[in-house]
């Protein structure tokens, strides 16, 4: 029977205590994900995405609040939770190197108590879909990181979980492999009504393209949660500019932030030029920004007014871009 919520958390908290300090990894996360949704977590490293996933997959205990997966409490009904979930983490080279791809995959179906014949049939199907059919008998130690990642993705789907957790699944994959994985994830959801996917990513485009709803998380708190379209609409009354300038200094950024009507500014440094994303309350603020540019001896190379993106939403909520968060992490 399908529960009302695939995932439900109330005031979920997680703190890590070290000798020096107490770190709040999650600070009161409330979530309600319905069966059939592809739900995304968007945030920089250390935002709390993976901590949330670890709690929901029963790998980590929360220090406060409650969390349910497929109607079962992660703390008190962990075994029941595990019957309904699977997980794939990206950016790692996991797998038993001495086993072949097929053996690795088969082994995990046995942990789930799957019939061996059915398991092999599903392995064949998914190897074909992910373009790994010719590697079935290859030892995992001979696979590239990307191919191992594909194998792990297959492992996640093999047991036909009700809730599939994908933690940065396309990290380290080439463009083609990432596209295959994204396309199949969507296809899997479309052809298996009620199945739920929770995706953590820091690729804005991935979240925008794939997710039914996105939660933007930073500092262990969910700052916004809605469909990508609605999140972008929240900036509809603002205007968004992209400027390419000669390199600017921090004093310029501080000066711009002081201008009334500037919602946010983020900087991405490139080769001999900076890319600035500006969110302003209205067009009339722009000349004030440009005059600050001149006052700080920087030159304008190009200027473009554009539609808000998920990245703009992120910048507006968090105060800086994802790449800036990662650089400072």
């Amino acid at each position: 029977m399908q529960p009302e919520y695939a995932i439900r958390t109330v005031n979920l908290q997680r703190t890590y205590k070290t000798k020096e300090r107490i770190l709040k990894a999650l600070d009161g996360v409330d979530l309600a994900v319905r069966p059939g949704e592809l739900f995304g977590f968007l945030g920089p490293n250390g935002a709390g995405k993976t901590t949330t996933i670890k709690i929901l997959t029963t790998l980590l205990l929360p220090t406060g609040g409650t969390a349910e997966v497929w109607g079962f409490d992660v703390l008190h009904e962990a075994d029941a939770v595990r019957r309904h979930i699977n997980m794939v983490s990206g950016g790692e080279s996991s797998g038993y190197g001495l086993l072949t791809v097929r053996e690795n995959l088969w082994m995990f179906t046995q942990f789930h108590g799957m019939d061996s014949k059915l398991a092999n049939k599903r392995i064949d199907e998914l190897l074909e879909v992910m373009g790994l059919a010719d590697r079935a008998k290859t030892r995992v130690s001979f696979l590239s990181t990307g191919l191992r990642q594909k194998m792990n993705y297959i492992r996640g789907l093999l047991t036909d979980p009700d809730v599939l957790f994908l933690d940065e699944p396309t990290l380290g994959l080439d463009v083609e492999a990432a596209r295959t994985l994204r396309t199949y994830t969507r296809h899997w959801l479309d052809t298996n009504p009620g199945k739920t996917v929770v995706l953590t990513t820091h690729y804005m485009q991935e979240a925008d393209e794939l997710c039914d709803r996105v939660a933007i998380i930073s500092g262990g708190t969910i700052l916004a949660c809605d469909t990508p379209t609605s999140l972008k609409h929240s900036l509809q009354e603002d205007v968004v500019f992209r400027l390419f300038t000669t390199p600017v200094n921090p004093a310029f950024l501080q000066a711009v932030e002081q201008i009334a009507g500037v919602q946010s500014i983020s900087q991405r440094s490139g080769d001999q030029r900076d890319e600035l994303s500006l969110i302003l309350r209205d067009d009339a603020i722009l000349p004030h920004v440009l005059s600050q540019l001149a006052a700080h001896n920087a030159g304008l190379l190009s200027l473009e007014k554009r539609q808000p993106t998920l990245e703009d939403v992120f910048v507006n909520l968090v105060g800086h871009s994802l790449s800036e968060s990662e650089a400072s992490a």
Partner: protein, 286 residues
């Protein structure tokens, strides 16, 4: 129980694959023989040297040392096997977290890994004992082996060591990669206290007290009595010669039950603690 057996089967399969897959059968047999055989030979040579100096009656001690050393190799392997599986799966393979989120039994899986390791290396024990009997004149004969006793002692010993290994795996779950020393340190210490190498009567009194509290001391005594006819004679002084074989078996049964009672909640507590501290997917990367 079904989940335990299912996980045991998978753990055993994986353990067998990873433990036996690294080489061809010839190298495997050579490797299985060489390690315990070289241990036995080292001890034999040491005894022969001491015998020549007139300090030791080597004829008495040789079978004692040889059987103890060869049989103990299995203890060391099994004791370390589960802790090693935890480390390997968590740190090297990055797979422990994926096993932990399946509905299978972690204990069953670890038992499977442990027994696979023992099975792969088990052949070495009869082979080395045969080598000892044929080449070093160790008095082991098929006709004088007490087979029922051997079977009972082997089963009880495996249970005791497996539960002990489960405790070590629990400890390893809670600490970092350098926990690799845990299994080796414990098996090394027990080597001293269990009478594997010499009768416990040569130990200082306080060490003898420890030795008598360690179940493996009784297990090794039982193995010797099963394999070697002279060890059944109370005249042969091992420190436990006054203990009847039936009492020895009772002690082993009691020890197996006690180890189970201790290790199962300890392992559960360790798993809970590892989840509290977020250690199930830890990667110390050094």
């Amino acid at each position: 129980m079904q989940r335990f057996l299912q996980a045991f089967r998978v753990g055993f399969w994986l353990g067998w694959k990873t433990e036996s897959n690294w080489t061809n059968p010839l190298f495997y047999i050579l490797w299985s023989l060489l390690v315990p055989m070289s241990n036995g030979l080292i001890m034999t040579m040491m005894l022969r040297v001491l015998q020549r100096t007139g300090n030791v009656n080597g004829a008495d001690l040789l079978p004692y040392v040889f059987i103890g050393t060869v049989v103990y190799s299995i203890v060391a392997l099994l004791l370390d096997s589960m802790a090693w599986a935890v480390l390997e799966d968590r740190e090297r393979m990055g797979m422990l977290k994926y096993i932990a989120i399946t509905p299978s039994s972690m204990y069953g899986y670890l038992w499977g890994r442990g027994f696979a390791k023992v099975s792969v290396n088990f052949l070495a024990v009869p082979l080395t004992l045969t080598f000892g009997a044929l080449v070093l004149d160790i008095p082991i004969q098929l006709s004088t082996i007490d087979w029922p006793l051997l079977l009972a002692v082997v089963v009880l010993g495996l249970l005791i060591v497996t539960f002990a290994a489960q405790i070590l795996a629990g400890v390893t779950l809670m600490i970092a990669r350098h926990a690799g020393f845990v299994g080796q340190a414990v098996s090394g210490a027990l080597y001293l206290f269990t009478g594997a190498l010499f009768p416990i009567t040569v130990l200082p009194i306080w060490m003898q007290t420890i030795a008598r509290a360690v179940p493996l001391t009784y297990w090794l005594e039982g193995m010797r009595r099963a394999l070697w006819v002279d060890a059944r004679n109370p005249a042969y002084k091992t420190g436990l010669e006054q203990l009847s074989t039936s009492n020895l078996l009772l002690i082993l049964v009691g020890a197996a039950v006690a180890m189970a009672v201790i290790s199962i909640p300890l392992q559960r507590r360790a798993e809970h603690r590892a989840k509290e501290k977020g250690l199930l997917d830890m990667n110390t990367a050094y």
